[in-house]
Symmetry: C2
Amino acid sequence: MPDDRIAHLVKDVTRALVRALHAGLAEHSVSFGHWTYLRILWERDGLTQRELSDEAGVMEPSTVTAIRSMEQLGYVTRAQLPENRKNIYVHLTAKGRALKAKLVPLAEEVNHIALAGIPVREVNITREVLMAMIENLAGRD
Amino acid sequence: MPDDRIAHLVKDVTRALVRALHAGLAEHSVSFGHWTYLRILWERDGLTQRELSDEAGVMEPSTVTAIRSMEQLGYVTRAQLPENRKNIYVHLTAKGRALKAKLVPLAEEVNHIALAGIPVREVNITREVLMAMIENLAGRD
DNA sequence: CTGATATACTTAGGACCCTAAGTAAATAGG
DNA sequence: CCTATTTACTTAGGGTCCTAAGTATATCAG
């Protein structure tokens, strides 16, 4: 069980991060799934669902469900434009934009806790290794 | 978005690993969830569902669902002992034990691909950082 | 010994993500 | 032009994991 462990470690860290963030987000009626899309939209508003899926790194059906639920919560609107009736453009509402001020500090706190006491140099190496792993796994399709 | 990215990186690596392993496992009628429990039982047979949950790092209801489905596939048996009718002991069948020879090489291949070209030293640092993160996040409950 | 507590499993229901297959609109080729 | 392909979104269904609440058994305390 040498290299094998790293896959399980990665999985366990993901679960730990999700668990840690979940409680705080829930207080603002934001699920972990919504968080991913909010982050993207705060950076760049008015993306299509396809673009959102690409940015989030998930498949389209996952985005459909999430965005629909965010629409019902009043965080985003979905709109078609006359020049292209196929695309659906997702825009933040004022309510959705306002969440940024509350949620970003929360995520920063969790990251701060997660990385406490770990040398920056090692965190950077980890970041590079993780990116290399994604690259390696993406190739084979 | 400095430290913040590491959370998303970890999540993305998990997804990439799951995707990569999924196809191979599916050929042997093993889902990704079953894989976790099989690995544990190959090491130590006859654990209770509670012990399996602890080992796998998941909650009990998740284990109930998975083990029941593995029982139906004929990979494990569930048995009570007269001296304690509360515990349910899970044992591998011959079929479940036989999967090891097919599945382990498959997982090793995925790990090999994922870590290709990454210096062992850096992988080890990553392993340590990930374990430290789990430790950091476990504390706050 | 018997009531309170702890333990092990189960049920119910929800969130997230996936694959496969369907629909509708846009685009490209003959 | 009009058919064929591609693109964007949707629907259907399944797997994994969670929390909360329920049931049955075991254990502990008075």
